[in-house]
Point group: C2
Chain length 230, copies 2
């Protein structure tokens, strides 16, 4: 395995996507897949697939393709998802509640083992998933007791930094942040931000500036073709 610092984040993201498509291929009965087919399924080009995998060694057989099961195992090992990870969800509002039960987390080996909130009417109640909602003040003990490895923040923005600080104090050094703010953590802690509205902004920017241009280009070329035809 190479020095991980040199691997682009986009490569890691794509490895995760390749893994999902390989699972689907296995489910559909495929044993071998070409880089072209895997690339098409993942909406990238095949040179990209080969380059991404090339960071980690030699996979597949030239002219034949990749073994669907072997490559999955290799990618899962690279990504360190060849075991389960324990999540602690902080903020059991509508979004947090929906995420706890999101079958995709558990299907991918991310198991929500603890739920926290600070609202007195929620604390001590059992969530529909079966988890007891705990007082955020008990985070430190619960993290140790239940071996929480990753904190998921689904609180409003105003509470996110405080929650991040509590997670750090409890030695949870990996955070998935759904709250619409940037949280500040020391270098030893890793954060991934999932801010839906930032992604909507990016989508709208592209739609406004690029797609309309493409649609206009298309309309123009159609006019040009029609003019030639006359």
């Amino acid at each position: 395995m190479p020095k991980s610092g040199k691997i682009p984040k986009a490569t890691i993201t794509r490895l995760s996507i390749y893994d999902r498509q390989l699972e689907l291929l296995e489910f559909d009965g495929y044993r071998v897949v070409s880089s072209e087919k895997l690339a098409w399924l993942c909406q990238v080009n095949s040179a990209q697939v080969r380059k991404d995998l090339g960071y980690f060694g030699e996979f597949g057989i030239r002219g034949v393709g990749y073994d669907v099961i072997d490559l999955q195992a290799q990618i899962k090992e690279i990504l360190a998802i060849n075991r389960n990870w324990n999540l602690g969800m902080v903020g059991i509002g509508k979004l947090g509640s929906a995420l706890i039960q999101h079958h995709n987390f558990s299907a991918r080996g991310f198991k929500c083992v603890a739920a926290f909130d600070n609202a007195p009417d929620k604390i001590g109640k059992r969530h529909p998933s079966g988890l007891m909602i705990r007082n955020i003040d008990e985070l430190r003990e619960a993290v140790r007791e239940l071996d929480v490895e990753i904190g998921v923040i689904t609180t409003p923005a105003s509470a996110a930094q405080r929650v991040a600080d509590l997670l750090l104090e409890a030695h949870v050094n990996a955070i998935l942040n759904f709250s619409p703010t940037r949280i500040r953590v020391p270098e030893c802690c890793l954060v991934e931000h999932i801010d839906f509205t930032v992604m909507l902004d990016v989508l709208v920017y592209k739609f406004h500036h690029e797609a309309r241009g493409m649609l206009a280009d298309r309309a123009m070329s159609r006019i040009a073709i029609e003019e030639q035809a006359h």
Copy 2:
């Protein structure tokens, strides 16, 4: 405005983040902010802030900083979020239901105007948000009637491609996809994928390969310091 094709997606993402921090600064009563402070709030370096804004022109006054209100207005115009956008949510399970009511969408000018599902027990019912849940078969008419501009897919993976095809037929050319699969669309359509578990995979990879290294480095340097001290 430059040719939008040349602007990195990461720049667009950061502009959206700058905009949020500028809103918070305005709320806190600031009228001017330095690129250093804005950078610190957004967890980037100040050269990055200046470079990102530099794609779009001259903002701010050297040695003084940016006008908090002006810069917001400029960024909102660049991102085309200086008006509201209408969303149509497809798949009203737990996640879709939570997202419809997610105050951040409406706070940022993204208004959910239509909700669709294919489950007979949901169709025709009123969602807690007040929206009537419509039959997915009525998508085309509803898109026209309600002027849906962006489709949000929150169905299981197995239904996502069919929903994307229906959105395209209804001339919805911008899609935010929360389903854990890649959907295939023609070039005139734009898709942003939000796959939580892909982001967890990336987090776990970094945690496993980088953070542990950092923690180990730190432990090693502490040992070295302690050894020197003896």
